[in-house]
Amino acid sequence: MDKWTAQIETYVDGEISSAEMKEMDAHLRTCSACTADALRQVQFKRAVQSVGRRYTPSADFRQKVRQSIAARPRRPAVWFWLPATAMVLALFVAVALSVRDQRLALRNTYSELADLHVTALASPNPVDVISSDRHTVKPWFEGKIPFAFNLPELQNPEITLVGGRIAYLGQSPGAELLYLIRKHQVSVFIFQERAVGHLPKSDSTLQRQQETFNFRSWSQNGLHYFVIGGVAGDDLSKIADLFRNAG
């Protein structure tokens, strides 16, 4: 067996170096016996390759094995996700309960303020300080409530300040201001934010229709404002905007 014959098998298997490959290529161009031998070996490889790919597993068997190996690596994931899911669920429930509590608190607060507003409407003396001048009304509250607030200047002739009085929400004192807008009475209540801590503190306007009254509610600079009246929402918003701009 010469050098070339011995190398043909590894040549056909592609297991010789590139330098040896070039050398063999050059030899095969000049040697018909080695070329024929290489060709036979290539054909032999192809025949075995073709025959060798014979058996195919069933889909059921593949699925069975896949399931058997898929179960174990995923087990730790289950242990991880179970408490994680429980935590998310608990958080969701807590948030949902918190939202529900806030809604209940709002409803109760609105009911209480609606009662105060109705009392003012029914009373022959709805306010303790009667004045359309904000510079009279605002000083009246000094020393009577534990906070100061700004009263807006009224430039809209449709809106008139009637006066004010002390109001209580729970145990906390606050200011109630009575306004007239096209002969409809509107109450504006101002309390310290901490006195209504259970209500949403966001600066956004809360809008709600409670029975026959419309409401606006928001927090601003540590104070919580409520506007309530039996007028259209737009009219209520005009008064609310005055306080927002003044606050």
Partner: protein
């Protein structure tokens, strides 16, 4: 199929092993020559490989690793022990098998005797059959075969050469009868 060191943790065993499922099943069928036994062998191989996956070293050849598990599992099975008991594993030290004056390859092509090659392959001793399948059907390099069979590359070359000659001899005998 070399697994990069950073990939071992990220890649699941399933991602690496399932693409080799068809080939492993085919190889198992050729080794056991029985589909039921082959299924048991493949299932046991996957179970063992999964258990040992933590010890699989990154940067090494996953295909060679799982084929080695399958082969070792087969060799310790009843069928494997029986198959290897018939032929000494150090057969590469024995006398060369003569390929004879005829060349069966050309006859194979002209007759398209698929069944003849199949029968001849089945008749081969298991250590010849497996190395031929790994090289020709699985298209493994000598290095991969060396890792799979846990033998030196020199032994891979000599055993492969002897396997081919043995197959040619069987084919010759069969074709004479055809």
């Amino acid at each position: 199929m070399e697994v990069q060191s950073g990939r071992v943790t990220a890649a699941t065993f399933e991602e690496l092993a399932m693409p080799l499922f068809d080939q492993l099943y085919n190889f198992a069928c050729w080794l056991t020559q029985d589909r039921t036994e082959a299924e048991d062998l493949v299932q046991e191989t996957y179970a063992k490989a999964l258990r040992g996956f933590a010890s699989f070293q990154a940067g090494t050849n996953f295909r060679a690793w799982i084929y080695r598990i399958l082969r070792n599992t087969f060799l310790t099975s009843r069928t494997g022990l029986k198959a290897t008991a018939m032929i000494p594993l150090d057969a590469e030290d024995a006398d060369e098998i003569s390929a004879g004056p005829e060349t069966p390859e050309s006859v194979l092509i002209s007759h398209s005797e698929h069944k003849v090659v199949q029968d001849a392959l089945e008749t081969l001793p298991v250590h010849f059959r497996e190395i031929l399948l790994l090289c020709e059907t699985e298209e493994m390099s000598y290095q991969e075969i060396s890792e799979t069979l846990s033998i030196p590359i020199g032994t891979v070359m000599s055993r492969l050469s002897r396997a081919r000659k043995a197959l040619r001899k069987i084919l010759q005998q069969k074709l004479v009868r055809v």
